[in-house]
Symmetry: none
Subunit: 224 residues, 2 copies
C-alpha cells in the first residue's frame, strides 16, 4: 500500500510518516497544498492523509481538485476543527474518513488499514488461498497453520498481490505500490522479492500460489 501524507507541521508529519513506514507502508510526504496536489497527481496512492489547514492550497480545495480528476485514492482528512458543518463539508468534498486532532497514532493506523481494504473491495480482513492465510489486520501470514515471518518489503509485495488476487500484475504495478519516490525502477528488485516470497510461502515446484505469466507479470491464486 502506498500512502501520501500532506501535513505542514513537521513534527506531526514526521511522526506519522515514520509510524506508517514502520507498519510497512510506502510513504511519501508533502509540506503544503500545492506540493501535495502535484504528488497526488504523480502517483496512484491508495490512501492520502490530508490536513485541512495548509499553506498555499487548503486541503478541501485540494480534495475537490482530486475528485474532479477522478483520483481513486481514499482520503482521510485531518483537522483541528470538529463541528458538524466541517464534517459535512469534508465528506461532501469526497473524503472517505475524518480524524480530529489530537489523535493517537493507533487510530490513524486502524483507519488507514480499513480504507486500504475497502479500496480493493475486500470485506474480509483475511485472505485465504489454498492453505495460505494472510491476515491483513494482524499483518501475519501462515501456511498450513504454521506462521511465516516476512520482512516488511516482502509483506508489502504479498499484500499487493492479495489485493489483486487472480489478476495478472505487471512488475511496474508492483513497483508503483511498494516503492516510494526514492528509487528507480531499472532493476530486478521485484523479481528478487517474488523469489524471496516463493521461497517462504510457495516452495514447491512448479509454484502453485504465485504463478509467472512470462512477458506479462505474476498472478496470485487463480488455480490450474
Amino acid at each position: 500500500m502506498r500512502i501520501l501524507v500532506v501535513e505542514d507541521f513537521p513534527p506531526l508529519s514526521r511522526a506519522i510518516v515514520q509510524g506508517l513506514q514502520e507498519a510497512g507502508y510506502a510513504v511519501d510526504s508533502a509540506g503544503d497544498g500545492e506540493e501535495g496536489l502535484a504528488s497526488a497527481q504523480a502517483c496512484p496512492y491508495d490512501v492520502i492523509l490530508l490536513d485541512i489547514m495548509l499553506p498555499k492550497l487548503d486541503g478541501l480545495s485540494l480534495l475537490h481538485q482530486l475528485r474532479k480528476q477522478h483520483h481513486p485514492a481514499a482520503v482521510l482528512l485531518l483537522t483541528a476543527k470538529d463541528t458538524v458543518a466541517d464534517r459535512v463539508m469534508g465528506l461532501d468534498a469526497g473524503a472517505d474518513d475524518y480524524l480530529v486532532k489530537p489523535f493517537a497514532f493507533e487510530e490513524v493506523l486502524a483507519r488507514v488499514r480499513a480504507m486500504a481494504r475497502r479500496r480493493y473491495g475486500q470485506r474480509e480482513a483475511q485472505v485465504v488461498i489454498d492453505d495460505l492465510e494472510v491476515d491483513l489486520v494482524a499483518r501475519t501470514v501462515t501456511r498450513a497453520g504454521r506462521p511465516i515471518a516476512l520482512s516488511a518489503r516482502e509483506y508489502a509485495v504479498l499484500e499487493y498481490l492479495c489485493a489483486r488476487r487472480g489478476h495478472v500484475v505487471t512488475r511496474m504495478e508492483i513497483w508503483d505500490h511498494v516503492y516510494d519516490f526514492a528509487t528507480e525502477p531499472s532493476s530486478n528488485v521485484v523479481d528478487v522479492y517474488i523469489g524471496y516470497l516463493r521461497r517462504k510461502i510457495d516452495a514447491d515446484h512448479p509454484h502453485k500460489l504465485i504463478r509467472t505469466r512470462r512477458g506479462q507479470g505474476y498472478v496470485l491464486g487463480e488455480p490450474e
Copy 2:
C-alpha cells in the same frame, strides 16, 4: 492494441514505452512532432500518447492535423500545464483524455485500457463467447470454467479478436495491432498464432470459436 508514444524527454518516454510493452501492448515511439505525425499516418494506432510541448511540431498542431485527416486513434494528451484553458483547448482539439505531469505510470495504464475499450465499443471488462470467458482487466482466460494459460503474444491476438468480435479480421489487421515496427510482415506468424490459440481454446473440429474466412481472414464468435 498498438500504441504510439510521442514524447521528447527520453527517460520519460523510455519508462512509458517499457511499461506499456510489459503490459502486453505493441508500442512505437517518436521523439518530436514531425516524427510523431509521420508515424501516426503510417499506422492505424489504437491509442496515441501525445506530449504537448514538442520540438519541431507541437502536440496540439499535430492533433489538429490528425483530426483533419480523420485519424481514428484515441489520443491521450500529456502536459505539464493544468489550467482550465489548457484543458479545454486540448479536448476541443479532439483529444480523448488528458493527463497532467507528473503522473504515475499506473494512471497511464488505466486510461489507456479505458480508451482502448471505449474505442471498440466495449462496456464490459469481460468478453463471453459460448463457454469461453476473457477477462480484459485480469488478463485471464477460462473455457468452461477451467483457466487457460496463454503466452503474451497469444493473449494479444485473442484480445484483438475479442475487440472485433463478430467482424472479419484480416491477417494484416491482426499483424498491425499485435506487432510494432521491429518486425516484418513477410511470414505466416499470424496463422501460427491462430493455430496456437485454437489448440488451447478451440480444439474441436470444425473450429467453433475462431472461424476461418478463406481469402479474407478470421472471425471470433458469430455463430452459424
